[in-house]
């Protein structure tokens, strides 16, 4: 499988993704799945400027990603798929049924969210969405950087990474 990591990260392309994961995984491409970014040339250019020239970024909406995911998964190069939120990942899981594991890498504070980990804040609905994702057979873990221990969904929801 060419996609090494399916990640939820509200910063999308940023240092942890490009360098923190990109270097150890030897990432050759990123699939950025976001309906808004997929419809904006300016946003796409902004994110392209953030990656080294040898790393390709493919911009997809949920609909187009669902069609092309199999192609990305068969790609021989190592890749990473990114969504900015849980809902987008759930839509992609439901549309494809071929995402085995999801990494929660960064969901930051906003009104209505409470802290679960240093880098994960969730509304009650988002916490339930993650449980639903697990019930679909997807392995849900939280891990911001490769050097950190991946935390199980139970640990994430209990906030045990904060201890």
């Amino acid at each position: 499988m060419a996609i090494e990591l399916y990640r939820i990260d509200d910063r999308l392309i940023h240092g942890q993704v490009v360098v923190g994961w990109g270097q150890p995984l030897g990432l050759a491409f990123i699939v950025l799945v976001d309906d808004e970014v997929a419809g904006s040339d300016w946003e796409q250019e902004l994110y392209r400027m953030g990656v080294p020239p040898e790393m390709h970024v493919y911009f997809e909406s949920v609909d187009t990603a669902a069609v092309r995911l199999g192609t990305y998964q068969e790609d021989q190069r190592p890749g990473l798929l990114l969504t900015a939120d849980i809902n987008t990942m759930i839509r992609l899981v439901d549309a494809t049924g071929s995402i085995p594991a999801v990494n929660v890498g960064g969901i930051h504070h906003r009104a209505g969210r409470s802290q679960r980990l240093r880098y994960v804040f969730l509304t009650p609905q988002e916490a339930d969405d993650l449980r639903q994702l697990a019930k679909r057979g997807v392995l849900v873990t939280a891990q911001d950087v490769p050097a950190a221990r991946p935390l199980s969904l139970d640990e994430l929801l209990a906030g045990e990474g904060n201890r």
Binding site: R11, L12, I13, H14, V18, G50, H108, H109
Partner: protein
Amino acid sequence: MNSARAIVAGHADFAAGLLSAVLQITGRDDIFLPMTNRGLGAQDVERLMADLVERSGAEVIFTDLPAGSCTMAARRLQRQQPDLTVVTGTNLAALLDFLFAESTVAGEAARLATEKGRASLLVSTRPTSSTSGGGPSGGD
């Protein structure tokens, strides 16, 4: 908040560390404001940076990595405020050069500082045997 000519923004203590070094070397860091993205989502980074620019009057934003969320935020801000200058890959030499270019227009000072910062990146390697004859081992 005092006025500042530039914001230095990046991961963790990147800005605080660099400005600490600027202060130790020059005795001043008053033209810079530090900013960290620690614990902030993308929108929070953008809001904080916009607030710092508005309140300080800064004309230049120095950031660390091209892919960093501070760089992304700075470029978004630059879209709304085209007069802003964004410098990525900031190092100590660049900030020192910028500090001492107060009489130069900020955007031009940033461009010159970038050249200085780039030029300060050097690699020193062990001399090869063909050129080390006069060195310590060659003199034995």
